[in-house]
Symmetry: C2
Subunit: 202 residues, 2 copies
């Protein structure tokens, strides 16, 4: 008989009950053509993100709104079919833009913004949103937690300022891995710390 790996066992049990919570800072998704215009080349992966295939790019850009700007903003890859700029409501106030709450990909009738890269500038006519909080799950994880794609659930956070988030949208896809995504307003509002977990409420 081998010895028991207590840490591995604990992690296996925890992953059956809880979902890691991750805070998304402000970031931008661009198309291949926009990457060419902004950077003179397509995106270069810097490090992988929690969702398989997604990465933080080495490239950075400046976001300019009617009232203010943010420099050194993260760009996530791979390139997409449409540009998308995800900011918090706090960021929106600084930029002078009111970002609507949207799920990723739903950019119709959202405000525009200016993207400034080292090689070029692009005026987006739409694409700015505050990401609606959501949970990424693989199909197997969805079955384990008893939830389906697009289901709206409550999520209890085990954080220093615990809250129960209502209106959390479940997104299930074979390329996803269990992670709750909230923005920095929500993360600071619930006192999120590294490796904090949440529980999907029945």
């Amino acid at each position: 008989m081998g010895s028991i790996d207590i840490d591995a066992l604990a992690n296996a049990v925890l992953s059956q009950l809880f979902v890691p919570i991750e805070a998304s800072g402000r970031h931008v998704h661009v198309t291949r053509e926009q990457a060419q215009t902004l950077f003179g080349h397509s995106l270069t992966p810097d490090r992988p993100l929690s969702q398989p295939g997604q990465y933080l790019a080495k490239e950075r850009l400046t976001l300019r709104g009617p009232k203010g700007a943010f420099e050194n903003v993260a760009v996530l890859g791979p390139e997409r079919d449409n540009a998308q700029v995800e900011v918090s409501l706090t960021d929106g106030r600084a930029l002078g833009i009111q970002p609507p709450l949207r799920l990723s990909g739903d950019t119709k009738a959202t405000p525009g913004i200016t993207l400034i890269g080292p090689q070029g500038t692009i005026s987006l006519t739409q694409g700015v949103m505050a990401a609606q909080r959501h949970i990424h799950l693989s199909p197997e994880e969805g079955r384990r937690f008893g939830v389906s794609d697009k289901q709206v659930v409550k999520l209890q956070t085990f954080t220093s300022r615990p809250v129960i988030f209502q209106d959390v949208v479940v997104r299930i896809h074979p390329d996803f891995r269990a992670a709750v995504h909230i923005d920095y307003d929500e993360a600071n509002g619930c006192g999120l710390g590294r490796d904090d977990l949440g529980r999907i409420l029945p």
Copy 2:
């Protein structure tokens, strides 16, 4: 028979069930002596706040931390026995200070900061905190909602990003009037709008 004032009736019913939620921006409380040093005179009321006797002062000051500063910061009156600086966790990051979560008045072993006024500068050795979310109630309102001073309750928000805040501290005092106080991280995290309400959960 007089006519029924529907608005007044609706407000009376709502006030039996719900508590208004107010977002507190970063602000400072100072002593009478500190007001003299910073402004050359004691505080001048600008407009009253929701809690009877409390006011926003005309005076403004600059907060300077190790990493950054905020100008034009609100000062609340009347003067207190001890200085207190209430900032959000987001503010703390910009200032280079980690504010602990505290209830107002509990400044022991909190970080310091520099206050810069038009007439003088003060280096506080303590006083910086992130205010723990709380509910102000009069004794009569406490009885109506069935809660007691210092009780910790849950609060459901009726906001654009609804949450249930756990660990909300009830504070009851004859000078208080029903109001939930949260900071801007929490307010943006729950999508608080003007006149939004919360419900104390049983």
